[in-house]
């Protein structure tokens, strides 16, 4: 009892500390000052009267949304004796593995820097700044020579690191025994099994209406769709973040999706936010970073070649270049097992006052990074709002897909969840693929790292990302990957090589996500 109370007060203190620096705090203060003029505010009961005013005017709702948002993002407070590294990642061997992976990335970036004789960062001359400013909205027309640049790493390099991840205290043994994992991931993390997943994803059940299934043309809209849209409009009118998160588990109507996502992520476009984005734009124009060329290359290689996303090429530059200048992203490293790369101002090596992070947001993009932003371009057309939504999605979800951690939504757990589901419920298929040298994870890894962006049709992808937001977890990616294998199991049983298996699973653009998930979780005979 004592422990729960002290835990609760610790959580409250942490959230208050976090919210104190936010826009909302300043706004609430301003409102409190302004409402002092009102006749119903009396000096003796100042505190209670102001609280009452906030309740009536809707500011309490905004505060509730902000607190709920913080609770979703922030991990539970840990033991007071636990050091900050423990909050990032409790398992020591995973921290070490993440550290050595980061070192490899830094070495790769440094060698690219020295080979090409390009500085990590350079201040742009005034002429170049003017030119970039004039071309800001059409950076895609620029064709710089990027042939010498190569991405720092690709998902398959990261997969090799995960395959070699070992717990030194885990008895692996040289010979195959009950201890060896049959898949590629060899660490014994706790993952959910299908009964637990059924309970977790209960709103995806067969008896609950879903967008993505019950809004198809054969189903009359009176049965589910009309009512669902009406409830969605009500949720938006109430501006309740927690209700929106619950509502979106059944999918979001296309017309309401942009507003619902903004409500769940607690993004409201204030003048300060637009100003902040403009400041980032100024930073991009003033300094040229090596990372910019990597971003250019990535966009040209991935999004520009995609049938759905090539139209958004300019938006992608505007978002990603500003993203790498944004120091507020550094805050998420408190709960991310990764750490931002560090450097020193030239000539001041070792002096802590001249230590800086590079890039300013601490995130080095890899091959396919721009695909996290591309689907959002369908929803948001105003660059500063698009930027805010992407940044919030990154610090809540996407960072887990490319750092080594034991978190249930981390990529390691997702891989293990995928392999365990496949092994348990499709043992013949798993055994067959393993025998022909086509470990299933080698095919599905790239889907999960990109959260299926670029592999599914856009409307299906957005329905999937609805559920990621609704359940505040990425586990659905692993379940979908297993469901795709289950769907194509008959064809896969006939292949005899990894290349043939890849060919069977090459095109996912015709798949309907929600029926696959529903059948796999709720309708498969186990």
């Amino acid at each position: 009892m004592l422990q729960e109370e002290s835990d609760l007060s610790l959580i409250i203190a942490q959230i208050v500390q976090k919210l104190k620096g936010s826009n909302l705090y300043a706004q609430l203060e301003r409102q409190a000052w302004a409402c002092l003029q009102r006749p119903e505010i009396k000096l003796e009961s100042l505190k209670e009267d102001i609280k009452e005013f906030f309740k009536i005017s809707g500011w309490e709702k905004k505060l509730q949304n902000a607190v709920y948002s913080e609770l979703s993002v922030f991990p539970l407070p840990s033991h007071p004796a636990a050091p900050p590294e423990h909050l990032k990642e409790p398992l020591v061997y995973m921290r070490k593995a993440q550290g050595s992976w980061e070192k490899r990335i830094l070495k790769s970036l440094n060698s690219m820097c020295t080979e090409l004789s390009i500085p990590l960062a350079r201040k742009r001359p005034v002429g170049e700044q003017k030119e970039l400013l004039s071309k800001w909205n059409e950076m895609g027309t620029d064709e710089p020579d990027l042939s010498l640049f190569r991405p720092v790493y690709a998902p398959k390099d990261f997969l090799e690191v995960l395959i070699n991840l070992r717990n030194p205290n885990y008895e692996n043994g040289d010979s195959l025994s009950f201890r060896t994992h049959l898949g590629l991931i060899q660490v014994p993390l706790k993952v959910k099994d299908i009964p637990e997943l059924k309970e977790f994803f209960v709103e995806l059940g067969l008896t609950t209406g879903q967008l993505g299934i019950d809004d198809s043309t054969q189903v009359p809209p009176e049965l589910f769709e009309n009512e669902h849209v009406r409830i969605g409009q009500k949720v938006l009118a109430e501006q309740d973040g927690a209700a929106a998160q619950q509502y979106i588990r059944q999918g979001s109507p296309t017309a309401l999706r942009a507003d619902l996502w903004a409500l769940i992520l607690n993004i409201s476009s204030q003048p300060e936010d637009i100003l902040y984005y403009e400041q980032l734009k100024t930073n991009v124009i003033q300094h040229d970073l090596l990372v910019d060329s990597l971003i250019y290359k990535d966009v040209k290689l991935t999004a520009s070649n995609d049938d759905y996303y090539f139209v958004f090429e300019d938006y992608l530059y505007q978002v990603l270049l500003c993203f790498s200048r944004d120091t507020s992203v550094l805050g998420h490293f408190a709960y991310n097992s990764a750490s931002p790369p560090k450097s020193y101002i030239r000539g001041k090596l070792g002096l802590e006052e001249y230590a800086v992070f590079y890039p300013p947001n601490g995130v080095i993009p890899f091959h396919g990074f721009s695909m996290y932003v591309a689907p959002l371009c369908f929803l948001y057309h105003e660059p500063s709002k698009l930027y805010q939504i992407f940044r919030e999605m990154y610090v809540r979800f996407f960072f887990r897909l490319h750092s080594i951690s034991s978190h249930p939504s981390g990529i390691v757990s997702l891989c293990l969840l995928f392999e365990t589901l496949l092994q348990t419920y499709l043992p013949q298929l798993f055994y067959h693929l393993r025998e022909i040298g086509a470990q299933p994870l080698r095919i599905s890894f790239k889907w999960m790292v990109r959260a299926f962006s670029g592999y599914l049709a856009t409307d299906q992808l957005l329905l999937l990302w609805d559920r990621i937001l609704g359940y505040n977890s990425l586990e659905i990616l692993a379940v979908l990957a297993a469901a795709v294998f289950a769907f194509r199991a008959v064809n896969l049983m006939e292949v005899t090589s990894l290349a043939a298996a890849e060919a069977v699973l090459a095109d996912l653009s015709t798949l309907k996500v929600m029926p696959l998930l529903q059948i796999f979780l709720f309708a498969t005979v186990t």
Partner: protein, 213 residues
């Protein structure tokens, strides 16, 4: 509440195993750690804190100082406390744990010795133990003071002078001013941890290569 660390001596772990430790194949699943307090008198235990390392269940036995004539007996104060919900997986394997006085089965008023019994039934792990063990006792209570007589026995208040017409009631004004003062103190004491947003040092962002430390 304040707490004070008690210097303790942790003896080496003893594995409990049937058969010969050297020749038998399996690894022990039970370890015993004795904790003695050589230089401290029997004390009241407040908190036990440690970092887990793959121990699944913990039991604690305590030997307390009783009256001088009866010999001290071992009593179980914590039985099969679960540290890892699933002994085969990593959940809870390297967590920091605190156990408090109110979680114990008996009262811990005059502790002489502790015995920690660690269990790890899963054969998957090479070794298991608890690390960074620390024992805490109740900190000293704030020293009792003797209050001067006028504070503990206030003089009954005399009749206040009659209010001058037109001025507000002084006690009401003082209570309102007190509230305002409390609010301003709170605002002054609060500080935020948000960053300013600058990534360069005085406008300069000319960097060396990335450092590996």
């Amino acid at each position: 509440m304040s707490r004070v660390s008690v210097p303790c001596h942790v003896k080496g772990t003893v594995a409990l195993q049937v058969g010969d430790v050297r020749t038998s194949q399996g690894r022990p699943g039970v370890l015993v750690i004795d904790v003695t307090f050589p230089s401290v008198a029997p004390f009241e235990l407040q908190e036990i804190m440690f970092k887990n390392y793959y121990t699944a269940f913990l039991s604690i036995r305590v030997r307390q100082h009783s009256s001088p004539h009866t010999p001290a007996k071992w009593v179980t104060c914590l039985r099969d406390y679960c540290l890892m919900p699933d002994p085969h997986s990593e959940e809870g394997a390297q967590e920091y744990v605190s156990l408090f006085k109110h979680q114990m089965l008996c009262d811990m008023a005059r502790v002489l010795e502790l015995r920690l019994i660690l269990r790890q039934p899963s054969p998957l792990w090479v070794s298991f133990t608890v690390e960074e063990l620390q024992i805490y006792q109740q900190g000293p209570k704030s020293p009792s003071m003797t209050f001067p007589k006028w504070l503990s026995h206030p003089v009954p208040c005399e009749q206040p002078p009659p209010l001058i017409e037109g001025l507000p009631d002084p006690s009401r004004v003082s209570s309102e001013v007190q509230q305002m003062w409390a609010l301003t103190e709170m605002i002054r004491a609060s500080h935020t941890s948000t960053r300013i947003g600058r990534f360069d040092v005085d406008g300069c962002y000319d960097l060396n290569l990335l450092s590996y430390t």
